[in-house]
Symmetry: C2
Subunit: 186 residues, 2 copies
DNA sequence: GACTAGGTGTGATTTACATCACTAGTTTCT
DNA sequence: AGAAACTAGTGATGTAAATCACACCTAGTC
């Protein structure tokens, strides 16, 4: 489990045993049941989470009570309501387990401490943020340029395993389409 | 002009005169005419740009030749086709002047050099990337949850000056709506 | 001073998708 | 084992927005 995190980080920057021990010292582990909330709307966001195993959904609930899924977080993903986390303001999103899930938790304080202690980790987080930002821009582009069928096909192509793991209802809410319309696609 | 950049950076991290001189040494200045391209599709992306004055549009052109505007970059914004820039692969986006524009140019090599030389600047770029990523996620949310009228109202509220500076045609292409539909909004 | 290219507004028609309504299978919980 | 909750498919209907088509206006250009 630690090895998985280490391998994940070392895809960006290499670490000595001591450095990795220092990383671990800033994290806590948590086991969560399906349907459990890691972040709830209006509450303060204590942690950013690294998913070891399982699956999370990051959700915005609109005024009409309809759920919109911003992203799924599976193995090796970092997830949080980052706006609320970094600015320490109440969450507008919620983060909930789709399956039983194991995560590492990183508090904002520990995040800053870790960056100060290990510049390498700051570089690691810079890379994560950079490519996270690029990925979000790709999603904007996909919403601007494609219809539902195409978005569904793209998702199938890029994350076939994810599509198999989740219900059509969740998938529809991620694609920004009604459950019924998704059900009618080829 | 340098003062503007310095003020911009110092909103995140404070710099000594020497450190700022070092930042400037990594940048080159460029003056561009309206309609001029800073980045063109299929070409390699040499620079990330800091906009001193003027206005740029970041555009994706789809197979049908229709333009989709991913973002506008005005004073104090950093812009590029960051995917192509960081991975040094051909651009899929283009970056074009909407007005006469003055920019500072930062090559990827100089970006890495600057981060290595001044950890403060790495922290600065980490902040930019973090909040860039949050902003992109907000845009996804807005596309998922709101209709055209609401998106237009939101934009008017957040960037009233931008809306005045650009044509309705460009605005429509940013909001992901046809020119005609935008024209029919209240 | 005519000529071209962008930019804008408005009607008519079409289309992709949402919503409503119903049936039915499958998990989960007690 | 039976109830409750979640999931999935499909028909009928409604609607927001795209598309097509046209008129008009302004700014730059030879």
């Amino acid at each position: 489990m630690q090895q998985q995190l280490r391998a994940h980080i070392e895809r960006s920057v290499s670490l000595t045993d001591g450095e990795f021990a220092s990383v671990l010292a800033h994290l806590t582990e948590k086991q969560c049941k399906k349907r459990e909330f890691l972040i709830q709307e209006d509450q303060t966001v204590e942690y950013a989470y690294f998913v070891v195993s399982g699956l999370l959904k990051l959700v915005y609930t609109d005024d009409a009570g309809k759920q919109h899924i911003l992203s799924f977080a599976m193995e090796d993903w970092w997830e949080s309501d980052f706006r609320a986390y970094y600015t320490q303001t109440p969450a507008t999103l919620s983060l909930q387990c789709v399956e039983d899930t194991v995560v590492f938790c990183l508090s904002l304080e520990h995040y800053h401490a870790l960056c100060a202690r290990l510049p390498k980790m700051e570089r690691f987080f810079l890379q994560k943020a950079t490519f996270g930002s690029i990925a979000a821009q790709q999603r904007v582009l996909s919403l601007l340029t494609t219809n539902v069928q195409q978005r569904y096909d793209q998702l199938l192509q890029h994350y076939p395993r994810l599509v198999q793991r989740i219900s059509k209802t969740l998938l529809a809410s991620y694609l920004g389409v009604s459950r019924e319309t998704l059900s009618r696609l080829s």
